[in-house]
Symmetry: C2
Subunit: 245 residues, 2 copies
Amino acid sequence: MSSVLDLLKSHRSIRKFTDQAIAPELLEDLFIAGQSAATSSFLQGSTIVRVTNPENRARLAELAGNQKYVESAAEFMVFCADLKRAGNYCEEYGKPFEGNYTEHFIIATVDVALMAQSLVTAAESVGLGICYIGGIRNNPGPITEMLQLPRGVYPVFGLCLGYPDQNPECKPRLPLSVIVKQDVYNETGDKEAITQYDEVIREYYRTRTGGGHGISWSEQVASLLSEKSRPHMRDFLAGQGFTFK
Amino acid sequence: MSSVLDLLKSHRSIRKFTDQAIAPELLEDLFIAGQSAATSSFLQGSTIVRVTNPENRARLAELAGNQKYVESAAEFMVFCADLKRAGNYCEEYGKPFEGNYTEHFIIATVDVALMAQSLVTAAESVGLGICYIGGIRNNPGPITEMLQLPRGVYPVFGLCLGYPDQNPECKPRLPLSVIVKQDVYNETGDKEAITQYDEVIREYYRTRTGGGHGISWSEQVASLLSEKSRPHMRDFLAGQGFTFK
């Protein structure tokens, strides 16, 4: 089944979809494939809210930073980390609830990502395209209200799914030597490798944006990490019961 | 390529491996497949430390809670969330480093999980078995020291990889109705569905452990969330620069 490797290597985000719906049986199959991913301590700490209401889809597109494909994709779902479902049983069995440690946050967040990525691979294997929407964390409060997410649940990211109406190239990744280390973390050679890679990414953007910005990888990520990124997240999460004890 | 769905649905953790090594070319292919997964804001905030030193493998097995397969699997790797690689360029370009927000922690942690899960699917597609090792968070300090992880990097989980020397069943998952919600979070019917599922899991453990514990899912997760799980994580992460601002 070497084609699975080719499938995985050919991932790119899709932001333009045809009108074709996803058959309900297929969608169910995708959920099951996602759910079959590993789950830490067997918590199964994920909930998927599939958004079908058109007004909510339009509002979500806006709240996620005006990403129109959130509205127009065949499917849009919000992947939530969920400690409530399991936490209900603390009360049921007369145990104290202590699920507000940093560790629980990690477990649930990782659970969600593993499930989503298996669902994504399943989807791509049948010709669907996907786009993760981290932008839902721009406005987690209104989104949480819209989806009626209770305490113990937070929206990690969204996912657009549909049949692709575009065929973008894959975006080149960092050289493996930079990503994979043997026995110890060691940055020898990374700077040179990244300098070369920066040129690849400049060129990638230049050719895609018609002579446009041509920004390098290192410039892009330096900007990302020099900004107070979504500084509302801590308080928002605390309000949902994730207090990083 | 409907077999990809079958592959994903057939996941189970493997904890007993043959002595067969993984060919270096295949291993490289798995890394590339993993790296091709989506990455938030193009951060590529993951580093894999592949542990080959036998003494370190033995020590890691111990530190992860005496999980012998950490030592005996053909490969063991530690998946790290990495904000240092990108953060280096804040200094390089004279920008302030602000990468210690909760949001950055989420971005990097999700990046790692997406990459790992694609690598896992690639591995399983060629007949390898895997086991995620959350147990490395039992002792993140000594492990961080061993792997020489600098500030800005933390070990999220480990992964054992090798050719399976066992063939366990898949572990039944929660009913889809409990996991997937439409438009709003709604627990109607969940309790009944979980009660039935609890019996499935009791039976699963009874038959696997030879009339042994027969604990239900809800009992298992209630225990998990009534414990102060790895309470050292917050301070450990703060020491690595993840301060949840």
